[in-house]
Symmetry: C2
DNA sequence: TTGAAAGCGTTACCAA
DNA sequence: TTGGTAACGCTTTCAA
């Protein structure tokens, strides 16, 4: 910056002002810009952050980058935050709370302006770290009963209950659930909880649950899970899956066995992934809006930062994201 | 840090040394750690970077976060770089060279230690920026004829040619190509180029090309593209698709029309996405290794940094990633 | 509209 | 093994 200042014949401060868009006469601005171009000068953001006491980082933690659910949420966040010059610090927790804690600790070292996490479950140490950092926090994809600060999401329990009701209304009597075995995917566990609750509420007998494989649930989870279901509860007439991914795999397994979907076996998914619309039969599912969760989270974060700047006290809130049952060919 | 030092009864420098793992007596270390815990002190990475003149950032640019291809590459990068305490700065160029340039410019402000880009195409300004920054650069997913520095990828042209040969060897005579319309997806364009070249080399007549929709190519691109192909070249007996995603959509469209795959119409994909293995019929495809590209890129980056530290001059190289044709049911 | 000086929180360097 | 001092490159603040 000194070099630029010297070449333009001004002080460092003037260069700084030009870069920040503060009031500088046209002529001076022009000269400074030319000097910048000539030297290929790029301002050091770390120094700026240190000096001004405010970074332009937003920390974001998702359980898995390879699930389109979460990568879409990240895209939503990016599209909201980038225009404000904010830079995402992205971390993949791999569904592990300890990894989340490690990542939070490591990211906090960059003094992010705010942070978005996935889910309601965090280690005590994570909570303490966040509290101490005193920055705005948003929990995504869930509506925790005791949110740390703000939350943007929906109740996976209720969404799963709605799907069971949907299947029951369509006349299916012996409804099973295909989920993951991981004790760490709390969205998945909530869906299972919802399934159990509604089966009980509707007096539909013993729950029929198959749990197979680690999160993130992929297509290849579906086939063996469906096979296990048919083995254990041969008279099942419908299954709801924790994800469209496994629903797709389950349908393929039915095809392979010569079972017609939905006549011999109805299948429902969760998430409204692209495959649910494109495959045959298309998959009845719960449509959620991952990109929208990212957008709304971004907006909530911006609002919190704005409030902080103006000194306004902002009430932390839980922002519900709509979901809908989409009835298609598979159920 | 001063607070910690005071509480532990040492100087700031000693605290800094404890954090950096430099030689400090056991006893002192213990006291310092206790003080850190008690105060919940978190070192400021920006200040450290400023002082030491080296950040812990690695800039990474991909065309699209929603393609599992690239999110897997990002995961590969993360898994290699995180153990070394490096933090990814991730950017999504949305297949736009100008956006890439903007992102590079913005990321360079954080003084990343090195940078990974996707593809061989960049604006002149981007190239100049990278040159000026004088940090190690890796281009991924391609083997440019004039790499900026290091490259990790494979020839999409050759891979596509290999697929055409595979189909020809299987006896298909009238082979078409289903690709995207985007002029910016150079991996896609290279595959088209390879298709044309091999069709010509094998004397298979006029190329039959349908180009529809923007990148990233998704499942929903496939059905209309297949429809257009049947409209324009009704006697086509095989199509190769720029991606497994559109191949899946194309197969669904065949099912809808009562065409048997592969008897009435063979379909091949590209990428060996999960759906290619799980759907029915399973899809013949080119298996590439997106996670491996990320891994190797991370290793190349680490090697370059290492070399820089030891003062060794490292020759920039092009690292080829293997791909293979996987023959399955669809072709 | 512009400039000078102080200071942000850390690490490099040299001295003890 | 430890401590003091001077930077790192910027922005804030105050003065002109």
């Amino acid at each position: 910056m000194s070099d630029v200042a010297r070449l333009a014949g001004v002080s460092k401060m003037t260069v700084s002002r030009v870069l920040a868009g503060h009031s500088v006469s046209e002529k001076t601005q022009e000269r400074v810009r030319q000097a910048i171009d000539k030297l290929g000068y790029v301002a050091d953001a770390a120094a700026g952050a240190l000096s001004s006491g405010r970074s332009e980082f937003v920390a974001v933690l998702v359980p898995s980058l390879s699930s389109s659910n979460f990568s879409d949420t990240v895209r939503g966040l990016m599209s909201t935050l980038e225009p404000h010059g904010l830079q995402l610090l992205l971390g993949d927790t791999d569904y592990e709370l300890e990894r989340e804690e490690r990542l939070v600790r490591s990211m906090l070292r960059y003094q992010p302006r705010c942070i978005a996490l996935t889910g309601a479950q965090h280690t005590d140490a994570t909570r303490k770290l966040l509290e101490r950092s005193a920055i705005p926090v948003v929990e995504m994809w869930d509506l925790p009963s005791k949110p740390i600060d703000t939350a943007v999401g929906f109740s996976n329990v209720r969404a799963a209950r709605a799907m069971v009701r949907h299947l029951a209304e369509r006349g299916y009597q012996r409804i099973g659930f295909l989920g993951g075995a991981s004790a760490l995917d709390s969205r998945g566990l909530d869906r299972l909880k919802g399934y159990r609750a509604e089966i009980k509420a509707l007096n539909m007998g013993e729950p029929r649950v198959i749990r197979l494989g680690e999160s993130p649930i992929t297509m290849s989870h579906g086939a063996p899970a469906m096979a296990a279901m048919l083995e254990k509860y041969p008279d099942t007439d419908a299954v709801m899956c924790v994800s469209d991914m496994s629903a797709f795999g389950a349908i393929m397994e039915c095809h392979r066995r010569g079972l017609s979907v939905p006549d011999d076996m109805a299948v429902a998914g969760f998430g409204n992934f692209e495959v649910a619309e494109c495959c045959h039969p298309s998959i009845t599912t719960v449509s959620v809006d991952p990109f929208g969760i990212g957008l709304r989270t971004g907006e909530a974060l911006l609002a919190a930062l704005e409030a902080r700047d103006t000194g306004a006290e902002i009430a932390s809130q839980s922002i519900p994201i709509e979901y809908t049952i989409i009835a298609r060919g598979s159920a």
